[in-house]
Symmetry: C2
Subunit: 370 residues, 2 copies
């Protein structure tokens, strides 16, 4: 019988834990046997994609016999125009995750140092580890990623990559554009800032520093998975220095992005009117989640994202209990993975009927546990 | 100004050539300024996906706000049932290319030896090289991949991976199931056979050896890109030993496959009646390409795929000239990359109107060059 030891996996792979960065909602439904009444855990946008994007996708399904364009030319051009940068400064990939995989392929090997926040995006760490990189974790400070401590750690370790999300997941917090620009200006020589802006479309106007593709030390990652409502299409993109961007072509899965998603994303990008409407719904939804927290005597964290993190007021065991009881009632939520943030639960803005369910069940669960 | 030398890419990445495994048809159209009248170069299926798959994709586009299932559970289950193997023996990825990327991540690092045929699938080699593996190339023999020489080379080099496509691309040739089983039985200890069966659905019944997922030395790669007519959906899969399959979970892009494609592929798999109809059209199309070659006094190679390779009767420069003249007339074709196969051109079965265009323009180009 074959055992793992018989396979000639690389030594790095042999040392990796088995399993997943995190479990998907569908798997949770299957494993728990509970169908979600309210899907408010993955920061998806239940408001859906623009009707124009759906129309474009339906037209494209008839063309699904054609290979998708490995250049993602039309989408790249649309994004380049949208941001006022050159075509050669934008790259499209299979979600931000797919781009992180290629990014780590480019930069990470044993002996390479990477800095990120403790409790930040696990899939980034997963891709770093799968290439044998060393991860240095910096705790959050007051529910924010700690810019100064991260910069100091990058300096101290001579880090090649420094991951930072703004707005932040899983806390929803943000730094202003000038604070971010100051961080960019202080980057140690040789460190590339991996600036994950997955939630930028739900943020206030002064959160995103100016995009400067002449700076070889910053890569900006954005996505159609969040406010654009196209998580299932798997379209992320990265904006940066042309030499950095073009080097992805040495390692990426060129035909990785699907044709239906490519066309849907172009249509979605061109429907900013729809996006603005959804943004207003998200802002209203955040307000409602804050109000529900308050009505239950709990603190919630101000958010620039499409979710709100609620401090359940006790320890992480209590928050876990709340989460599992909500799940049993068909309400899918998630929570931060590490202390001290893990005393919170994370609630994505849902449709009105989902918010109603959340409100009712949250109150009931808290009463049950009091 | 930043130059490549300033970036901290890994030493492997620094040594890689820039650019693409190969150029996509859309890029060729853009670069040449010629819109293809007949798209017969990428071995796509212009017959399209099953109408049931299109219906499933159109329904799914409304659900594109949801993350796709990282387990690909429904599609894996459908494939497992279809092949009569366990769910844990099947993995779905972003096309066979995406799976090759993960495969090489698992097995390849500097010092690892890999054997393949000279002129075989370039994207496999691309992924091996991007991990620093050593590739050993074995020439074709009589337009076939040379089983004995490949086995000998794998033995000699102590290869970790041996790539083999059956039916073969770019020649269209095949080996029978018993010949393949004999090759499997002779694999050197420690060598895993990467059996690329992208074209298996267009082959005769006796081409595919029995799928044996207890054998840890064979991985079978198949796709919805060819006869299923869903190249743009980017859905490939691999069947093999559960321990090998599960190890992909350590490195793959879990959320890489899109939701619309997942659902389309399940529907396509369940419509074998449609697939059989398309297969008959492909067989008829192959016959027609053979007849066109013959009518022009040229030899064509018997094919088990959805394309036919035509020997243009002179050297590779001549074949290249034919190809470029066909392109100028709006007929997109491709050709093998290396001698001696490069005296041929490769013609995918097209729709009737495309075949008419090919017939007319091919005759005209040959006359022009005679």
């Amino acid at each position: 019988m074959a055992s793992n030891a018989d396979f000639r996996f690389t030594s790095i792979v042999k040392g990796l834990p088995s399993g997943y960065p995190f479990t998907g909602p569908d798997t949770q439904e299957r494993q728990s046997g509970i169908m979600f009444q309210a899907r408010m855990g993955a920061n998806e946008s239940g408001f859906g994609p623009s009707p124009k994007a759906i129309e474009a996708m339906n037209e494209a399904s008839h063309l699904a016999w054609q290979y998708s364009d490995p250049d993602n030319y039309n989408l790249r051009s649309a994004l380049a125009e949208f941001y006022g940068v050159g075509h050669e400064s934008v790259l499209v990939g299979e979600g931000i995750d797919g781009l992180f995989s290629s990014l780590c392929h480019l930069f990470v090997e044993p002996g390479v140092e990477v800095v990120t926040s403790l409790g930040s995006y696990p899939t980034f760490n997963y891709h770093v580890k799968s290439r044998g990189g060393n991860i240095h974790l910096v705790p959050y400070k007051d529910d924010h990623e700690d810019r100064d401590a991260l910069l100091a750690k990058a300096q101290e370790t001579n880090a090649s990559l420094l991951y930072f999300s703004n707005p932040n997941n899983p806390m929803g917090t943000w730094w202003s554009a000038d604070k971010m620009q100051s961080m960019i200006n202080q980057l140690p020589k040789g460190t590339v800032l991996i600036l994950d802006e997955a939630y930028i479309e739900t943020a206030q106007d002064d959160v995103s520093p100016v995009i400067d593709v002449t700076n070889p030390q910053v890569l900006r990652f954005r996505t159609f998975s969040k406010l654009y409502g196209m998580a299932g299409a798997r379209i992320g993109y990265v904006i940066g220095h042309p030499e950095l961007i073009s080097t992805f072509d040495k390692v990426r899965n060129h035909y990785g992005v699907n044709l239906v998603g490519q066309r849907g994303a172009v249509a979605a990008l061109h429907d900013q009117t729809y996006l603005e409407k959804v943004k207003q719904k998200v802002i209203k939804g955040r307000d409602r989640i804050h109000a529900i927290a308050k009505a239950n005597g709990l603190q919630s964290i101000p958010s620039a994202t499409n979710f709100v993190t609620i401090d359940c007021g006790r320890d992480s065991d209590f928050a876990k209990l709340v989460l599992s009881k909500m799940l049993k009632r068909g309400v899918f939520l998630r929570m931060p993975g590490v202390e001290p943030q893990a005393k919170c639960i994370r609630v994505s803005v849902g449709l009105d009927y989902e918010m109603d369910i959340f409100e009712k069940e949250f109150e009931a669960v808290l009463k049950e546990l009091s």
